[in-house]
Symmetry: C2
Subunit: 368 residues, 2 copies
């Protein structure tokens, strides 16, 4: 069911052009995956995401487990049918959310007791339970349950998370049986190179079809993230996809691709939209600002998305000020399009052997 | 620019089949006009409204005057371009909103001083000012500035509103010059037959191309509304459209059509959607109710709209509980479709000489 083809490697960087195939079709990589936390990419329909060119969305195991519950989703015929999405889905493992959103009660090798962020009710997640949930949800790609250490943390804490992540990866592996679903492992180790190496090597022994890089983009300096990505590029097998979790901004996508990353996900495009902010080739703009009140140009003159072809900054600002939901929709559409289109341009550039030129041109124009 | 053709009259009722033509195309009547208060039909794009079959939307002069201001809309090239709507638009006059939403300061024959419901700022609207605003907005159909008496009110109050509405209609007429915009008059008179007659006759002298029935659906018993509609049917010229303002529910649309009304508008479909309520052929259902948690059928089995073809009650309820904007979108889409489709079925029935059968069948099934 799952296949990764490495189509091209850039000669001046570690950028890679690839193609991932699952039961729900092809994913061209490097790819940005919009996030549909609660079985919906906020404000958008599947048809709009198809139109944008989205080939895969991410959904959150932690959230769907709490509400509406994986049992209901399974009864609906799985996540694809429940949310009317006909392309690929990846579910994360809930590990990151348990350690960031929920109130932790007790963690042991067995699993994690925590309080729901919705109603405070007590829940228990273990590698075995998470595998049951993810298989009930039925995404094309499932993630192993991992322990994500915070930033900053001590070497000992990071080491503990690596040990537990390896232990849990083995149990996830043993409890994962769906043949129409692929299980990815997650490398931890915080910003400590030897722990990253240890985590990767322990997971290699289990021979997963792909490896994610977890525990980055959690507050560490950019240089640390880039340094770890370079190390991971050297360590990770060349013939398997690498997925950098929770990233990111346009500049981080470029920096990640440059360092050999194939897959990314982030809530930023829809979250920024809710705050009235939009991406442009020259950087982010806050559309709600008074300076756009009578600006009848599109969000981004160089963008050919539905929103930029039909609506002015002045109209969008009016919708934001009037608290109209259409504002969230249109800004979300544009922002997701911006990142998906950026990845498309990146893939073209790698294909043409022009990635370095594209990288420099983009970052010269984009103010952040 | 403006033409009304009466295509057919029902033999068993006062129902009429018609066709209105303006600069932005044809409107088949009887017609339901969704309301885009702030230059957007809440949560929906123009393309979705085209897909639903909407031929005309209403927008609110009072709201657009306050925000973003008619000057900005004119600078954008008019309301059609501002909101990216390529079919017909009708703007109300703001009269109803000034008397219901705003805090009234002083009313005289000259006009109305009031406080904005947004920031309390003081504003003045007169027939002359409203004509300037509506012409700046540039809808296909504009409404005269009228005085809408509340329900209940004394005969004297209702009479005063009729006198002022006639006075203002003349001044609106004199100050309306756009040849690509048609000006409708509004009949007032509350639930008093002689005042309704007086209002209509005074307006007839000014020979407007169409007459609206204002001051109904403001709290009076249904029987009073129906009685006044029957009177208006007898009074109003047969060869001009009649527009019942602020109506309504599916049952009121049927009762209105039966009594000779050609045009309707109401915020209900999108407002109900925001409260998690949807129309079905069997009556309204509250999709957020727990009883729909594992109901995998569509909102309405007999509906073939985008939402009913693709989403279950269980999924919609999940979106509502999770406070996802997509819930508002999908329920708004369905509810607007329901009313637009109802009008389409009504038109077919009139055309086939089957209106009475349709009327009884619908009301036998629809619980309200």
């Amino acid at each position: 069911m799952f296949r990764f083809e490495l189509l091209k490697q850039d000669s001046n960087s570690s950028a890679r052009l690839g193609r991932i195939t699952t039961g729900h079709g092809v994913i061209d990589s490097p790819v940005f995956m919009p996030v549909g936390t609660q079985a919906t990419v906020k404000t958008l329909t599947p048809e709009e995401l198809y139109e944008i060119g989205v080939q895969i969305v991410l959904s959150n195991t932690y959230h769907l487990y709490l509400r509406p519950g994986e049992e209901l989703v399974a009864k609906a015929g799985g996540l694809h049918r429940f949310m009317n999405w006909k392309r690929n889905i990846l579910t994360d493992s809930g590990g990151f959310q348990v350690f960031s959103l929920a109130k932790l009660r007790r963690i042991s090798d067995e699993g994690v007791y925590f309080n729901s962020h919705i109603d405070g009710s007590v829940h228990f997640l273990s590698p075995e339970k998470v595998m049951q949930i993810e298989q009930d949800l039925g995404a094309d790609i499932a993630m192993c349950f991992d322990e994500c250490a915070p930033y900053p943390c001590s070497y000992e804490e990071a080491q503990q998370a690596v040990v537990r992540t390896s232990l849990w990866a083995r149990r996830c592996r043993e409890n994962h049986h769906r043949t129409d679903q692929t299980l990815f492992a997650i490398v931890q180790g915080n910003i400590f190179p030897d722990l990253r190496q240890r985590s990767a090597e322990e997971l290699f022994k289990l021979d997963f079809p792909a490896y994610a890089i977890g525990g980055l983009s959690v507050g560490e300096p950019k240089e640390d993230m880039y340094r770890i990505l370079e190390l991971m590029h050297d360590l990770l097998p060349v013939d398997k996809p690498r997925y950098l979790m929770g990233v990111g901004t346009p500049e981080d996508l470029l920096e990640g691709v440059k360092r050999g990353v194939d897959m990314f996900d982030c809530v930023l495009p829809t979250r920024l939209a809710r705050h009235g902010t939009a991406y442009t080739a020259e950087g982010k703009i806050t559309v709600r600002n008074a300076s756009y009140a009578d600006d009848f140009s599109p969000i981004d003159n160089s963008c050919d998305c539905y929103v930029c072809r039909n609506y002015s900054r002045a109209y969008l600002r009016h919708l934001i000020k009037a608290e109209e939901i259409l504002a969230h929709r249109l800004l979300s559409y544009h922002n997701v399009y911006f990142l998906v289109n950026l990845m498309e341009n990146i893939r073209s550039a790698i294909n043409l052997g022009m990635f370095s030129t594209f990288y420099h041109d983009f970052l010269n124009t984009y103010r952040f």
